[in-house]
């Protein structure tokens, strides 16, 4: 996209509009009826317009069975890691997913990558449900959806050279680049992510964390994917190096026309990079909206508590900000509370919260109103509250 490369750095402008036009976020899925592998591949190769949904997740569920017994395993329960979530990812946008450890955000990443099989629910990529694919069609999907991992120290094979690591995608998908071309392509990729192309024969342990993460990003880019799923891509890095990697990811998004699903626990980084943000709690989506809607007009008590707990690098804000200190810990996903999952730590909880599961929808009080608070929030008693203390 010519216009977007020219405005790297201030991506708020055009893209926001395109994305905003497509809200509410859960759109209708246009099913494609491809039955043969060839047809599926044709569907997957078709381009998607900017601002159109490219990935649609519907009622995705992942339960990990808990078993007992060694010889005769019987199921005694399930860890409800992801328990029915739906969202859309639009072409060219960054959707941030935030939540605390154990909320299921990393499981979502694995499900979207089809590294785990979903218990139920669908993931539509260009209208094609990828949870049911296998073989060549699945391989074609994997070419288009790539992943950047959290820990750059464990995500690169220590026994392979950087050239082999970044070149491996071409060996798995030989149709993308002819053999003689690969070395040049790998060197180009190294250059794109800001590493010296001469490092091609080095081994991962010869690099620092930030450089390794760049190698991981180069590997993710090798197949020219449309979607990159980033699972905590900077949380293992030093502060001064985080900014380098975040800027690089921003630049690459414009250059290669990528859609990002950005999973992180650091709310500041998510705000910086995301166009829209979803907040997860115990396997469910608590609230989802544009970055302004979530950060400046949160309506779900969990989002508010989460935001208020984030330490802001500004000592003057100590006095200005209201802090909501939650009591207790996140309950076990093997035995989540009935009704609203957050009710055990919520200061607003009433009887209704224990009985009725709140739906992720625009709260009635805000329905039809033209206010940033009118975004989807799964709370019976949703109300606006500014906790970030925007000056």
């Amino acid at each position: 996209m010519a216009e977007s490369t020219s405005e790297s750095g201030k991506k708020s402008g055009k893209k926001d509009e395109a994305v905003a036009a497509a809200t509410p976020n859960v759109t209708e899925v246009v099913h494609t009826d491809a039955s043969t592998t060839a047809e599926v591949e044709a569907v997957l190769d078709a381009p998607v317009e900017r601002g159109e949904p490219i990935l649609q997740v519907r009622n995705l569920v992942k339960h990990f069975p808990l078993t007992q017994g060694i010889l005769f395993r019987r199921q005694v329960g399930a860890v409800k890691a992801v328990d029915g979530i739906s969202f859309d990812l639009y072409q060219g946008e960054t959707l941030g997913i935030v939540g605390e450890s154990g909320c299921g955000k990393s499981t979502v990443a694995k499900l979207l990558m089809t590294l785990e099989t979903a218990t139920s629910g669908e993931v539509f990529y260009k209208g094609q449900d990828i949870t049911k694919l296998s073989g060549r069609a699945l391989k074609a999907v994997r070419r288009n959806i790539q992943m950047v991992f959290q820990d750059p120290y464990t995500s690169l094979n220590p026994r392979m050279t950087v050239g082999d690591i970044i070149g491996e995608p071409y060996e798995i998908h030989p149709e993308v680049a002819p053999k003689g071309d690969r070395r040049r392509k790998v060197q180009e990729l190294l250059d794109v992510v800001g590493l010296n192309p001469e490092y091609i024969n080095r081994y991962p342990h010869q690099f620092s964390g930030g450089q390794r993460q760049r190698i991981g990003i180069a590997r993710g880019l090798a197949l020219n994917p449309e979607i990159i799923i980033c699972d905590e891509p900077v949380s293992a890095l030093d502060v001064s190096v985080q900014a380098q990697v975040i800027n690089l990811m921003g630049k690459l998004q414009d250059e290669f026309n990528l859609s990002y699903l950005f999973i992180a626990h650091d709310l500041s980084i998510v705000r910086h990079i995301s166009d829209r943000v979803g907040v997860m709690y115990l396997g469910k989506m608590a609230e989802i909206g544009t970055d302004t809607e979530i950060y400046e007009h949160p309506t779900h008590p969990y989002t508010q508590a989460l935001l208020s707990a984030v330490p802001v690098p500004d000592p003057d804000a100590r006095e200005r900000r209201e802090r909501i200190i939650l009591t207790g810990d996140v309950p076990s996903p093997a035995n989540p509370p009935s009704g609203c999952r957050f009710r055990t730590r919520c200061w607003k909880a009433e009887d209704r919260c224990a009985e009725e599961v709140p739906l992720l929808a625009i709260p009635e009080v805000f329905a039809g109103k033209k206010t940033p608070a009118a975004h989807e929030s799964a709370c019976h008693f949703a109300e606006e509250k500014d906790v970030v203390g925007v000056a």
Partner: protein, 319 residues
């Protein structure tokens, strides 16, 4: 322990037991050539005196096994009862047939010790190879696939693990009348693979969970690529260590079986047979037992030392 082992370069983290120190010294790409973990391990090995000593010994043993004529021109099987019955060593006559003296059949002990290396080393190497391939494969499949495949293979391994090694070997070997080298090696391998299988299984399970394996799967890599490109090279190190140490053990086991008369038999020359032959005259002529037994100990020790050195180089975190 020499301090060298505390500052490994072959580990993923850069240095020492102290995490903060490791973080303090980042791997700096500004200098140096590509260094694979294998070459790092080699650098580390080369500086380890334990390795140098054991490697020299092993090279010497290998040369003995392959070309014994380099060391002696005497036929170890020819006895001369008239002249040399159990005569004492002649310390001054280095490398000559009478150096270590003669046994009760008047055969040169020196020549027999040299020629005995071939059987011992062959059995050791053959059994280790067989065990590594068989045990490695079973362990790898069990570890990689998990689930019912793992259950079946692991129980199968446990059953074999439960058979006492020597008892089992004796039972098998007594059923053979003609115990050639491969028969002895084969029966030992048949009973000995379980240790490697267990080590391999554990190592594969650990490696399987690494992010780089997940990354390869996310790229759409097939099972073969994942197993042989990603898992095996990273899981093999502990197996190499165990196999090297076990090699010494197999040589000792062969000698034990031969001593009991259940392993190799005449005319094959084996230290175990010689030790057995010497036992009746131990008081009168201890040297007849001393030389084959000493050689056996030295060989076993060399492989155990090598295994230790290799472990230091490949997996410094292990200690």
């Amino acid at each position: 322990m020499p301090d060298v082992t505390k500052t490994p370069a072959a580990s993923d983290t850069v240095l020492t037991s102290d995490e903060t120190v490791a973080a303090n010294v980042p791997a700096v790409p500004a200098t140096g050539k590509p260094r694979s973990l294998w070459s790092d391990a080699w650098q580390q090995l080369r500086r380890n005196p334990l390795f140098v000593i054991s490697a020299l010994l092993i090279v010497l043993l290998l040369v003995m096994a392959i070309v014994p004529t380099l060391f002696t021109s005497v036929d170890p099987r020819s006895g001369d009862l008239t002249n040399h019955f159990m005569s004492k060593p002649e310390w001054g006559h280095v490398f000559s047939p009478e150096w270590f003296g003669y046994d009760k059949q008047g055969r040169s002990i020196y020549a027999r010790v040299i020629y005995g290396a071939r059987a011992s080393i062959s059995v050791g190497v053959l059994v280790t190879l067989a065990v590594t391939i068989l045990g490695g494969l079973i362990g790898m499949l069990a570890g990689y696939y998990g689930g019912w495949i793992d259950s079946v293979l692991s129980r199968f391994t446990d059953i074999f693990f439960g058979i006492p090694f020597f008892l089992g070997a004796m039972v098998i070997l007594t059923s053979f009348t003609d115990r050639e080298l491969w028969v002895v090696a084969g029966s030992m391998a048949f009973l000995g693979w379980t240790q490697i299988a267990r080590v391999m299984r554990g190592s594969v399970i650990t490696t399987k969970q690494s992010d780089y394996v997940t990354a390869a799967r996310a790229l759409g890599a097939g099972t073969g690529r994942i197993l042989f490109r990603h898992i095996l090279p990273n899981a093999i190190a502990p197996v190499i260590v165990v196999a090297t140490i076990a090699l010494g053990g197999y040589i000792a086991a062969e000698a034990t079986l031969s001593y009991l008369g259940l392993g190799l038999a005449d005319p094959t020359i084996s230290w175990g047979i010689d030790i057995s032959d010497a036992k009746d005259a131990l008081r009168d002529a201890p040297h007849v037992m001393f030389f084959p037994a000493g050689m056996l100990c030295l060989t076993v020790l060399a492989f155990i030392m090598l295994g230790d050195a290799v472990r230091d180089a490949l997996d410094p975190k292990l200690r």
